[in-house]
Amino acid sequence: MLEIKDLHANINGKEILKGINLTIKEGEVHAIMGPNGSGKSTLSAVLAGNPNYEVTKGSASFLGKNLLELSPEDRSREGLFLSFQYPVEIQGVSMVNFMRAAVNEHRKYKKLPALSASDFLKLMRERKEFVELDNSLANRSVNEGFSGGEKKRNEIFQMAMLEPRLSILDETDSGLDIDALRIVANGVNKLKNPHSSTIVITHYQRLLDYIKPDIVHVLYKGQIVKTGTPDLALELEERGYDWIKKELGE
């Protein structure tokens, strides 16, 4: 589904990703862990097409297409979804208008007719159940005045609306209390199907108790330095990253 080869990327001239290699197959859940500043969020931003980052080398293909050539909107329409670590507040744009525009652009891309207003509202009602969001959501401005937990639930709600093939959850657990974490993780699990894949970026094992990964990677200084089974996450939780640094000869 996703194949990244020797990916290098800069922000403001500073190289953050220094040769990422990663292959994700249909149905797999990959966890990416790593110390602060290792490039985890940069990787997710580059995959989603954030124009602030410049890819200097390497390739990434998604469902057979050259991902790096696609605009952010086309990446989304092709089925890539990024759950933002810091969802953006957009004053004056209501959730309902935002989601209607997004869903209908996805449908247009697939050459499907736009949803009728009633079908759309029905879909919205149904999907917000996944993350237990309340009814006032539709008319509120995007993320404006949302609590940290609501923002993350809202990300997963959008994921439920767009039904992506590949979801990248960038520290979706940060800023969540235990209950919210459970709701968010349950939402992600309910949306899981044999054809969809997930990349979970996190610092903590806690989230991985709920969203069980098949493979765990350690990202350090812009490269994937270790790949293992879910046990690797448990080991990191217990021992930290120093032993990995030692293995790398630091």
Binding site: F84, I90, A102, L162
Partner: protein
């Protein structure tokens, strides 16, 4: 025409001008002319008109209809307003001549709406009591010029304890087969406890050079409620000068919303004087510019007495080589304690060539007040754009969503539901770079 040509024009034709107008209007004419002769046309060298070269606009050789020749036009043939669901009483001022609507008879008892000249003839006491009461205090070259030449306009009177439920709609149309100038003077009076809404739509019908210089004096009585909407969609060769002067008595409530959708060169001079305690005023507006359009709003809110509230919000979206100016003065006089006054100006420059001049000016002489002001000029939020795009929304649509959101707190201030929906739609089509069209309006077709 040059300044001197206008001076000569008046000197030569003063008698004609006066003979075709009412004595009440004429009573101020010579004095206004003396001011005009002394101060001249609005000059870009003056601080007040620094960013809008009106002198250049006045410089065109316009025709003035000082002989009051009837205009061979039936405005309702060319203009049918189609705001779905809006029931309004329609009136027209074509150039500077007033036209009556056939629905005028359905107005509540005691309400008078007619041409200013007709009102001066039929209700001289009423007109004399108010006419020029605010304008004559205004030391402004456009006001002096208007009062030198204006011969007619729109008159509206809402007596005590009377409410006009449906909005009154005044359509200002500039039309003709030559370059034309129009000076009109509108007088709006709301007595104690009266309630009314006025929607003023400015249009230009043909692609000649037009200059309209209009004064609207509004007197809002004690406890009265008034809403004034100005919706402008004029052509690029139209210079539109609007002098809106509002005086508010005790506990009155006024909402003013000035929306410039499309224009050539527009100057709005808006002066609101809070003369009675506990008066409240909300003044907002927005402008969308592209091409070489120029939108200049100069506002002045005068807190003359204690315990009044003013809220001001202006927003501009400027693209290409358009130019916006916002000059917002708030004056809190020495005795105006417990004043609450808030002013905000937010602007979006979408191109490197668009220019915005903003000058908030608070003058506070009282010491127990709550006042704030803020002005920002910037571009669309890149993080928000990326967020929207990352959900599959194209860059263009994402920009539109953000721009519509930017204008939302102005359009939300429209209390007539049908009008609000229509304005939102017009804003959207304008942002999509389509000419704003009111579907059934022959002017827009």
């Amino acid at each position: 025409m040059e300044e001197q040509s206008y001076i000569d024009l008046y000197k030569t034709h003063a008698e004609t001008i006066k003979s075709k107008s009412s004595d009440i209007l004429n009573a101020f004419r010579d004095e206004a002319f003396a001011d005009f002769e002394k101060n001249g046309l609005p000059s870009p060298t003056s601080e007040r008109y620094r960013y809008s070269d009106l002198k250049k606009s006045y410089g065109i050789n316009y025709g003035l209809n000082i002989n009051r020749l009837p205009i061979q036009i039936n405005p309702s043939d060319i203009f049918r307003c189609d705001v779905p669901g809006i029931k309004s009483h329609l009136f027209y001022v074509v150039n500077d001549s007033f036209f009556l609507d056939k629905n005028a008879e359905n107005l509540p008892k005691g309400v008078i709406i007619c041409g200013l000249n007709e009102a001066a003839e039929k209700y001289p006491e009423l007109v004399r009591k108010y006419y020029a009461k605010q304008a004559q205090k205004h030391n402004d070259p456009n006001v002096s010029f208007n009062m030198t030449f204006a011969q007619d306009g729109f008159f509206m009177y809402v007596p005590k304890n009377t409410e006009i439920a449906e909005p009154i709609q005044l359509i200002n149309i500039m039309s003709g087969n030559a370059d034309i100038m129009a000076n009109s003077h509108n007088l709006i009076i709301l007595e104690e406890n009266a309630k009314a809404k006025l929607l003023v739509c400015d249009h230009s019908l043909k692609d000649f050079n037009f200059l309209s210089n209009r004064i609207t004096e509004v007197f809002v009585g004690e406890n009265a409620t008034y809403e004034h909407y100005k919706l402008e969609s004029t052509g690029e060769k139209h210079t539109n000068i609007c002098n809106l002067l509002i005086e508010q008595q005790k506990s009155s409530n006024v909402l003013t919303n000035i929306i410039t959708l499309h224009n050539g060169l527009t100057r709005n001079n808006i002066d609101i004087c809070l003369m009675g305690e506990y008066a409240e005023t909300k003044l907002c507006g927005m402008a969308i510019g592209n091409g070489c359009q120029k939108i200049d709003n100069a506002t002045n809110i005068d807190h003359a007495v204690p315990n009044c509230t003013s809220n001001e919000l202006f927003k501009y979206i400027l693209d290409e080589k358009s130019k916006g100016t916002f000059f917002g003065r708030v004056l809190v006089r020495k005795d105006a304690q417990k004043t609450a006054s808030f002013q905000t100006n937010k602007n979006m420059c979408l191109s490197a060539d668009a220019t915005m001049y903003t000058k908030p000016q608070l003058e506070i002489y009282a010491d127990d007040v709550k006042c704030s002001h803020g002005a920002t000029t910037g571009q669309l939020d890149e993080n928000a754009l990326f967020y929207l795009r990352s959900r599959g929304i194209s860059e263009r649509e994402a920009q539109l969503l953000l721009l519509q959101a930017f204008t939302a707190d102005i359009t939300e201030n429209i209390t007539v539901g049908a009008l609000k929906d229509r304005v939102k739609m017009l804003v959207e089509s304008r942002l999509r770079n389509e000419q704003p069209k009111c579907t059934a309006c022959a002017i827009c077709k």
